[in-house]
Structure formats: C-alpha cells, structure tokens
Amino acid sequence: WCHPIKSVFVKFPGDVIKNTTDVELAETYLKRFGYMEVQEKSGVRSLVSTSKALKKLQKQLGLEETGTLDKATVSAMKQPRCGVPDVHN
C-alpha cells in the first residue's frame, strides 16, 4: 500500500501502440469480418450502413442489438478471436 499512486509513464521503444480510436477500430473490424458488404441474391454487392452492420455483429456475438458503438461492443471488438470472417460475401 506504500506504492506511489502517481506512476511515471515511459515510452517503450518498439512498443506497438494501438492508438486507434474506437470508431476506427469499429470500421476496420466490421470490414474485416464481412459485416459492411452484403451480397444480394442477384450477386450484386452493396454496402450497408454502419448501424445495420453493428446490429448484425451484435446479433452474431450475442450482444444487445443497439446498432450503436456501445461499450460492450467496443470491448468485444478488442477480444482475441479467430481470423475467419463471420459473414461471407
């Protein structure tokens, strides 16, 4: 308990600092795992809105389907996972 509360923060050489914002993280995540594109029956691909894509992700991951970038969704996006896309277009 005698540890100093205020610590000194150091920049470590070679540290892969992922200082992406949550929005950037979401965009990359939704695109990488196939949520941003939908392939119509006719075979034509079309982009979906982020909100729709988020809802689809939240359904896949068993989260509350808010369609917004809420805390639980951001936390889930930061979890380690399989690299196979969730949606195949």
């Binding site: 610590s7 470590f12 991951l61 068993g62 979890q79 690299g83």
Partner: protein, 563 residues
C-alpha cells in the same frame, strides 16, 4: 451452427493432416499432442478419421506464421487475430494457420515439458521448492553448466524429481542440424554471436549455428523459447534478465511500472535505462488445443456459430474441462453424420478368421506379464524386427517384444509376450508395419503374413497372394510411403505394395541400391520412424531422410533403445 455456402465438406472420411513447422513456445511433442487431441474432438462424434503424414500433401496442412505469412490474410502481431483456416477443398483450402506472435500454451501459462533428468519427460511443476525456496520458472540454481531445469513435483528437496527445460543449450528445432544444440560463440557473416539471433531473417524467428562457424558450415537450428521468454517488445523470445534496473530502481520480477495499460513487462538485459531492451512477460497464453479444435472445425466445413458456449463461436475463451457443445455436434453431424458404433472386439466375433485354439487367451491390453522372463533388451544383439506401432518403436525377438515410451524419449518397456497381444502370431517375426491410413498392422514371418485390425486377425496367408514371387523366402523390411503404398524389402530387392488392393504394383522388383544409395544392401531390417528410413545391419542403423540422404549412422541399442 452455420456451414459455408454450398455446404463445403470433404468427399472422404479418412482425412490426412501434416504439421509443416513448429512454434518455439512449446516442445514439439506437446504441439503434436495438442493437434491430435483437437482432431479427436471431431472424430469422437463423426465417422471421420485423422491420419498424420510426415511428407507430401495432406488434406489439412498446418503451419505457424507471423504477420504476412504468404496468404491474402496477414496476422496482426500479439493478440487480436489468433489463427484462421480455410473450408474443405484443394490447395490452400482446408489448411490451418496459427499466429506465432501469440504466446502458445495449454491455456494456463508456460507449458514446459522436460527432457533428460529422471522424470521421463514429465512437465515442470510450478511452483516448486528447491533448497527451501519456491520457484515459478525454470532455474539454473544448483548447476554450473547454466542449463535451466525444474522440478516435476512440488518439492524437489523431498522428491528429487527433475528434468531440463527447453533451451538452446540443450536442443534446437527445425533447420538442418537434427536438433543439435547451439554452439556459442558462433560466427555469422564475420560477426560473433554468443546468443540466439534473428539477424539474417525477416520472419523474426531466433536461430543459432550448431557449429562454431555458420559462414563455413551452414549448420543451424531454431532456438526454443525459454519459459521466461518475452513476447512483443523489441526482444521477442529473449528471456527476462533478473535483476534489471529501470529508472534507477532494481526489479527482480516482472512489473507494470512505467505502463498505463498495466501489462507486465521485464528488461532482457540488466539495465533498461541504458539498453532499452524489453518485452511483455509470459502470461496464461492461448490454448493451442482449443484454438486448433476451432480452426479444424472450419477445415471440416463448419462456419462461426452465434452460440457463445459453442467451440465455433468466433471469440477465444479458455475452458479447463472442454467438451463439445450440442450446437457444434449438430453442425458437424449435419455434414458427416454421427459416429458409427464400433463392433465389440472379441475373438468370438463372427468376422474374425483366426482359428481359436484352446490356448488363445482372451485379448486384453498389454500389461507387464507377471512372470516376465529376465531377458534384457540391451543384451539383444540383433532383433527379429523393429517397427513403429501407435507412435512407439517395438523391438521383436523370439516371441517377446519391447517398446519405447513417451514417443521414444523415455526408457523402453518390457519385455511383453507377443502371444498375449497378437495370439495368432508365431514367435519369430521377420518384419511388421502399421498402415498409417487404416491402422491395421501387417506381420510377416517366412512366407506367411497376418493382418491385425485391433484384435481381429486375418491370416496366415501366403505372401504370393500379394503378388510376391513364390521363390521369396522372407520379407525383411517395410517402409510406408503414403497414399496407401508400402515398400517391402528382401535381399537386394524391393517391391511396392498397394495396401488397398493388397497387390504389388507393376514394375517391381527393383534394386535397393538404385533408390536407397548409401545404405547396406543386405539390411536385415528396414523401418520408418518419425519421418526417417532406418536400415539396420547387426548392431548398427543407417538413417535416411525423406530426401534419400543418409544423415546419421548409429547404434540401435543406444540411440533407439536408449540403453
């Protein structure tokens, strides 16, 4: 559960796999075992069988890689993406890739398998007591040679059980040095190195020379990671250096000081302030078994599930006592159907063709017979035959056999009586081999052969039935060559048997020395073991690799039997 568009699946049930390379995080046999258990998760609930190949092309090719590892989907360093796999099909389809920037364990921290010592390859037990002090990592205390070791029980002072931990001073893996240990210092491009290095490589794997001069000898191997090896940072794979100085203060263990994310780190030299060399401390890591079982689900045709407790749910979650979820079972059985219950294996089974005799005992798993004859395998000059069965080398002699333990790393066991495990066989066996695809075991004695499938036996039959000449006195060796082909040796000739058709292929016999140059043409035994061909004559063996190069000559007794 979901399947891939078009219900992609394999059009055969006997699936083959091959492990192309290894991660330095765990000893090879631990990685092999994790993959084998991961396949068993699926074979337990379907008719699928999984057979490992050591060369050639398998349905499922397994490899470790970092970042851009050659396909269009690069990994992303530590954490994040752990692995990926492709649905069934040709080429890269069906393959599984694992991100080697992750720290691979069995899910509960460093998985350290010992070698040598007196613990027969047991795992380290952390923490353990040594001279009254508790240790949670491998140590060099008590030794002058710097070899890291650990106890394999909680209390070394009481139990005295120990083994050596993986380290570049003990062995290397991969490369071209057959596991030889590093030689320090060694010269590379004119510069001296006294520790493993990533110099000269772009994939970040640490390596060393196994002679004093790589520039002239070109002999190298990859360095296994020590249990205190760091991940990430700028010294990946190097061990923590304790004590180390940080901001003028001395640390004897990992710390999160200086970081806002709370992650534990250590320096890899004695002074971070001057050298700035560091990495993250080993944590629980990711269970290779669990991640592999998930990826192999993809390789069999399953897509991600939205059931959070299912194995095919996309997020990683460590589970100690794993079992498949109903959702996973429904998915895989939708593709391949349920497992076919196997027939009870008693000799009275109607399909067995062996003639039961009054002495045929009830088949049971081999146990050490209570009246073990006092024949010591190390006293045997020449064995009737040697072959690998279920991963262990078996040495047959005059009605008895011995077998290695622990995948060949432990002491040999036995003797056991042949008649107790294979009652139909005679005492003297000329050769034997296990068919990798069907797991059936073929035994040859003089001009007859038997085929054991578990406890069921077919035979004896005459070897002419296979298409061998009637003048042939005996078969002296056998080499499994994959794709259901086995090479049978006799005298200076060899024939190629197609196990499926049970016939010799056209164009044989051929002369042994035409294809297997550099080995004795009159070997009295030939067998395949861990991907190498062994030609035996008297007390010696000549070992040939898959590129038909003799890369070792040694003593059967010391190298294989470990006398």
């Amino acid at each position: 559960y979901q399947t891939f568009p078009g219900d992609l699946k394999w059009d055969h049930n006997d699936i083959t796999y091959r492990v192309l390379n290894y991660s330095p995080d765990m000893e090879e046999s631990l990685i092999d075992d994790a993959f084998a258990r991961a396949f068993k998760v699926w074979s337990d609930v379907t008719p699928l069988t999984f057979t490992r190949l050591y060369d050639g092309t398998a349905d499922i090719m397994i490899s470790f890689g970092k970042l851009d590892h050659g396909d269009p989907y690069p990994f992303d360093g530590t954490d994040g993406l752990l692995a990926h796999a492709y649905p069934p099909g040709e080429g890269i389809q069906g393959d599984a890739h694992f991100d080697d920037d992750e720290y691979w364990t069995l899910g509960n921290g460093p998985a350290v398998k010992t070698s040598y010592g007196n613990a027969e390859g047991a795992m380290c037990h952390f923490p353990f007591l040594f001279e009254g002090k508790s240790y949670s990592t491998c140590i060099t205390e008590g030794r002058t040679d710097g070899l890291p070791w650990c106890a394999t029980t909680a209390d070394y002072d009481k139990d005295q059980k120990y083994g050596f931990c993986p380290s570049e001073l003990l062995f290397t893996f991969g490369g071209n040095s057959d596991g030889a240990e590093c030689v320090f210092p060694f010269t590379f491009l004119g510069k001296q190195y006294d520790s493993c290095t990533t110099e000269g490589r772009t994939d970040g794997y640490r390596w060393c020379a196994t002679t004093a001069n790589f520039d002239t000898d070109k002999k190298f191997g990859f360095c296994p990671n020590r249990d205190t090896a760091v991940t990430g940072g700028n010294s990946e794979g190097e061990p923590c250096q304790f004590p180390f100085i940080f901001l003028g203060k001395t640390y004897t263990s990992c710390t999160s000081e200086g970081r806002s994310d709370g992650k534990l780190w250590c320096a890899t030299t004695s002074n971070f302030d001057t050298d700035q060399k560091w990495g993250f401390c080993p944590d629980k890591g990711y269970s290779l078994f669990l991640v592999a079982a998930h990826e192999f689900g993809h390789a069999l045709g399953l897509d991600h599930s939205n059931i959070q407790d299912a194995l095919m749910f996309p997020m990683y979650k460590y589970v100690a006592d794993f079992s498949l979820n109903e959702d996973d079972i429904e998915g895989i059985q939708y593709l391949y159907g349920p497992k076919i219950p196997t027939k009870p294996s008693t000799t009275s089974s109607p399909v067995s063709t062996a003639k039961p005799t009054a002495q045929t005992p009830k088949p049971t798993a081999p146990t050490v017979p209570t009246t073990t004859p006092s024949v010591d395998a190390c006293q045997v000059e020449i064995f009737d035959t040697i072959t690998e069965i279920q991963g262990e080398l078996h040495f047959f002699k005059d009605g008895l056999y011995w077998k290695t333990s622990n995948g060949g790393k432990g002491n040999h066991k036995g003797p056991f009586r042949i008649s107790e495990r294979w009652p139909a066989l005679p005492a003297k066996i000329n050769t034997a081999f296990e068919d990798h695809l069907t797991k059936k075991i073929y035994f040859f004695a003089d001009t007859r052969f038997w085929v054991y499938n578990g406890q069921e036996v077919q035979g004896p039959r005459r070897i002419e039935k296979l298409g061998l000449p009637s003048t042939l006195q005996k078969v002296e060796g056998a080499l499994q060559r994959g794709k259901g082909k086995v090479i049978l040796f006799s005298g200076e000739n060899f024939w190629r048997l197609d196990v499926k058709t049970q016939r010799i292929d056209k164009g044989y016999p051929r002369f042994t020395d035409q294809k297997f140059g550099g080995v004795p043409v009159d070997s009295h035994d030939v067998f395949l073991y861990k991907g190498h061909f062994y030609f035996c004559r008297e007390i010696y063996y000549w070992r040939m690799n898959s590129r038909m190069q003799v890369n070792r000559v040694g003593y059967v007794k010391y190298d294989l039997l470990r006398c």
